[in-house]
C-alpha cells in the first residue's frame, strides 16, 4: 500500500536557510531519505514551494474556481512530502514519526487510492 506523508510546518518557525539549524535539519533529511531508499519503501518525495505559491482548484456547479495561496487558514503549511510503500498503517506511522519535521511540525499520512 502506498502512503503519502505530507509534511506540515510553520514556515515562520522553520530554521532560516543558511543557519546552522537549517544545515542540521537538511542533514537529518538526507539521512532519513537514505534510510527509506535503503528500506526499499521510497516511491517519491519532494520539498514544496511555499503555500503562497500554490493554488487550489475547485469545480463548483461546472465552474472552475481558484483559491489563491493556502487553502486552510492555519499557520502550518504543506512543505514537502514522501510517497512510501508500506505493508500497513503501522509501518507508515513508524516512518512518519521518523521524518525530522515531525518534531516541530505535523505529518499527515494519507493512503493513496489504488486505481485499477
Amino acid at each position: 500500500m502506498e502512503y503519502l506523508m505530507c509534511i506540515y510546518t510553520d514556515p515562520e518557525a522553520d530554521p532560516q536557510k543558511g543557519s546552522p539549524e537549517h544545515e542540521e535539519l537538511m542533514s537529518e533529511y538526507f539521512a532519513f531519505t537514505n534510510e527509506v531508499i535503503e528500506a526499499g519503501v521510497m516511491r517519491g518525495g519532494n520539498e514544496l514551494h511555499p503555500a503562497s505559491a500554490g493554488s487550489t482548484v475547485a469545480v463548483r456547479g461546472g465552474k472552475v474556481e481558484f483559491v489563491d495561496g493556502p487553502f486552510a487558514d492555519t499557520k502550518e503549511q504543506l512543505g514537502g512530502y514522501y510517497l512510501l510503500d508500506c505493508a500497513d498503517l503501522d509501518e507508515a506511522l513508524k516512518w512518519a514519526a521518523k521524518i525530522p519535521s515531525a518534531r516541530h511540525g505535523r505529518i499527515e499520512v494519507r493512503p493513496v487510492v489504488v486505481m485499477e
Partner: protein, 433 residues
C-alpha cells in the same frame, strides 16, 4: 405482538453474546472490516427472521459465522469497488467452499480472534472517542442506538462516527493482527485506556436512581474479563479488571436517594457488593502474580482493595495506603496521585502534616484550577478548626466544579462549617432535590 417482541429480544440477546467472537473470526477470513461488519449485520437480520420459526440453533455462533460468510459473498458480488480484484477472487474462492448453513447440520468451531479485533478497534490512529464506540459495537455487540443513548448523542451522529471508523480501518490499512512484542506495551495501554474510559463514562453517569443509560460499567468489566482471558499474563489487564470491580462494588452506597454524593467515609459498607469485591481481589492477586513491578491500574486497585477489605473508614490502614501512593510516585510524578497521598497523610499523621504535603504540591502547574485540590485543602483546614480559611477553600472548589451533585456536596460541607438556618449552602443543597 407481545410474544414476537419477546422472541426478537431473545434472538438479540443470543446474537449479542456471540457478536464479538463471530465478527473476529469472520474478519480473519475476509480481511475487510466494513465487509465483515456488514455481512454479520445481514446474518443477524436473517437470524431475526429464521430463529423465531425454526428455533435458536444448537450452535448459534457457528450458524451466524456460516451465514455471515454467505452474506459476505453476496456483498462482494454486488460491490464493484473492492481493494483488489485478485484479493476479492481469493476470498470468494475460499468462501464459496462453505456449506449453506440452512442445509447443513455441521457446526464449526469458531477460532477466538477477539484479541486482534480489540487491538484493531483501539488502534492509536483512531481517536479514543471513536475507539470507545467501535469497541462497544464490534466487540461487545451493542447496537448503534444503544451506544448513542449511552453517550447522549443522536443516533445518526453515532452511526456516522462508526461508519467513518470502519471505513478508515479499511482504507488506511490498519492491520488485523496482534501487535509485535516491541509494540505490545504501548498498544495494550491504548486498549486498557479505552476500556477504562468506557467504565468511567458509566461510573460518572450513574446517579444511584436511574438506569436509563446502557450499563457501561458492566460492559467495561466484561471487556476487562475478556482481556484477562485472552491475555492472562498481562498484569495491568488484571489490575484494571480488579480496579473496575472494586469501584463497581460500591455502586449502591456511593449516592443517596436523590442522587447526592455519599463520600467514602459516610458510605454504608454493608451495601458493598461482596461478590464484586471477591472477584476484584482475585484479579488483583492474579496481577501481582504476573509482575513484580505493578503498574498504575494494579496499584489503584490495591488502594481500592484496602478500602474494600476494611469494615469502617476509621479503621483504614493509612500507612498501607501511603506505601502504595509512594510506589505510584516512584515511577513518575503525578499531581493527582500526590494530592491523594496528601489526603492519606492527613489521616495517617494528621491534618497539619496533610497541609504540608499539599503545600509541596501547590507549585504543580494547573493545580490552582483543580477542584479536588481545593476540596481537600478545605477539608484539612476544617479538621484543624480554621473555619474561615476552610470556607474560602470550599468557595473556590465550588466555583471550579461543573457537576451539580458535586457542587451540592461541597456546599453542604461548606454550610456545615457554620451551622445556621439561613446559610446559602443549605439552600442550594435543597435545590438539587
Amino acid at each position: 405482538m407481545n410474544s414476537n417482541a419477546t422472541t426478537h429480544a431473545a434472538v438479540e440477546r443470543v446474537v449479542r453474546q456471540e457478536w464479538g467472537r463471530v465478527l473476529a473470526a469472520l474478519l480473519h477470513r475476509v480481511g475487510q472490516f466494513e465487509l465483515a461488519e456488514d455481512a454479520l449485520q445481514d446474518a443477524f437480520v436473517a437470524a431475526l427472521s429464521r430463529w423465531p420459526q425454526q428455533g435458536v440453533p444448537a450452535n448459534p455462533g457457528g450458524w451466524l459465522l456460516r451465514t455471515a460468510e454467505r452474506k459476505a459473498i453476496d456483498i462482494m458480488r454486488r460491490s464493484r469497488v473492492f481493494q483488489s480484484r485478485q484479493q476479492q477472487l481469493t476470498i470468494l474462492a475460499e468462501l464459496d467452499s462453505i456449506a449453506d448453513p440452512y442445509d447443513s447440520a455441521e457446526t464449526p468451531e469458531i477460532p477466538d480472534e477477539r484479541l486482534k479485533l480489540i487491538f484493531t478497534c483501539c488502534h492509536p490512529a483512531l481517536t479514543e472517542e471513536v475507539s470507545v464506540a467501535l469497541t462497544l459495537k464490534s466487540v461487545c455487540g451493542l447496537n448503534t442506538l444503544q451506544i448513542a443513548k449511552a453517550f447522549l448523542v443522536p443516533q445518526a451522529t453515532m452511526a456516522q462516527r462508526i461508519v467513518r471508523a470502519k471505513r478508515k480501518i479499511s482504507l488506511s490499512g490498519i492491520p488485523y493482527r496482534i501487535p509485535p512484542a516491541k509494540d505490545w506495551p504501548e498498544r495494550m495501554n491504548a486498549v486498557l485506556a479505552v476500556v477504562y474510559l468506557i467504565f468511567n463514562e458509566g461510573y460518572s453517569a450513574y446517579d444511584g436512581t436511574t438506569h436509563s443509560r446502557a450499563d457501561l460499567c458492566e460492559e467495561a468489566i466484561r471487556l476487562g474479563r475478556l482481556l484477562v482471558e485472552l491475555a492472562p499474563t498481562e498484569a495491568e489487564a488484571s489490575g484494571l479488571t480488579a480496579l473496575m470491580l472494586l469501584h463497581h462494588s460500591r455502586r449502591k452506597s456511593r449516592s443517596g436517594p436523590i442522587g447526592e454524593i455519599v463520600p467514602l467515609d459516610a458510605q454504608d459498607r454493608l451495601q458493598w457488593d461482596q461478590e464484586c469485591i471477591f472477584e476484584g481481589l482475585a484479579w488483583l492477586e492474579h496481577s501481582f502474580q504476573q509482575s513484580s513491578s505493578p503498574g498504575y491500574y494494579t496499584l489503584q486497585a490495591r488502594l481500592s482493595a484496602i478500602h474494600a477489605t476494611t469494615t469502617s473508614f476509621s479503621a483504614t490502614d493509612w500507612p498501607a495506603m501511603l506505601a502504595v501512593y509512594d510506589q505510584m510516585l516512584a515511577s513518575s510524578s503525578n499531581p493527582v496521585v500526590q494530592l491523594n497521598r496528601a489526603v492519606a497523610i492527613s489521616y495517617a499523621c494528621g491534618p497539619q502534616e496533610g497541609l504540608q504535603a499539599l503545600e509541596e504540591l501547590a507549585v504543580a502547574p494547573r493545580i490552582a484550577s483543580y477542584q479536588p485540590y481545593h476540596a481537600a485543602h478545605a477539608d484539612m483546614l476544617a479538621r484543624l478548626g480554621d473555619r474561615q480559611a476552610a470556607d474560602q477553600a470550599y468557595a473556590r472548589a465550588i466555583e471550579l466544579s461543573h457537576n451539580q451533585a458535586e457542587q451540592a456536596f461541597l456546599r453542604k460541607k461548606q454550610a456545615d462549617l457554620q451551622p445556621g438556618p439561613d446559610t446559602n449552602g443549605a439552600g442550594a443543597c435543597r435545590d438539587r432535590g
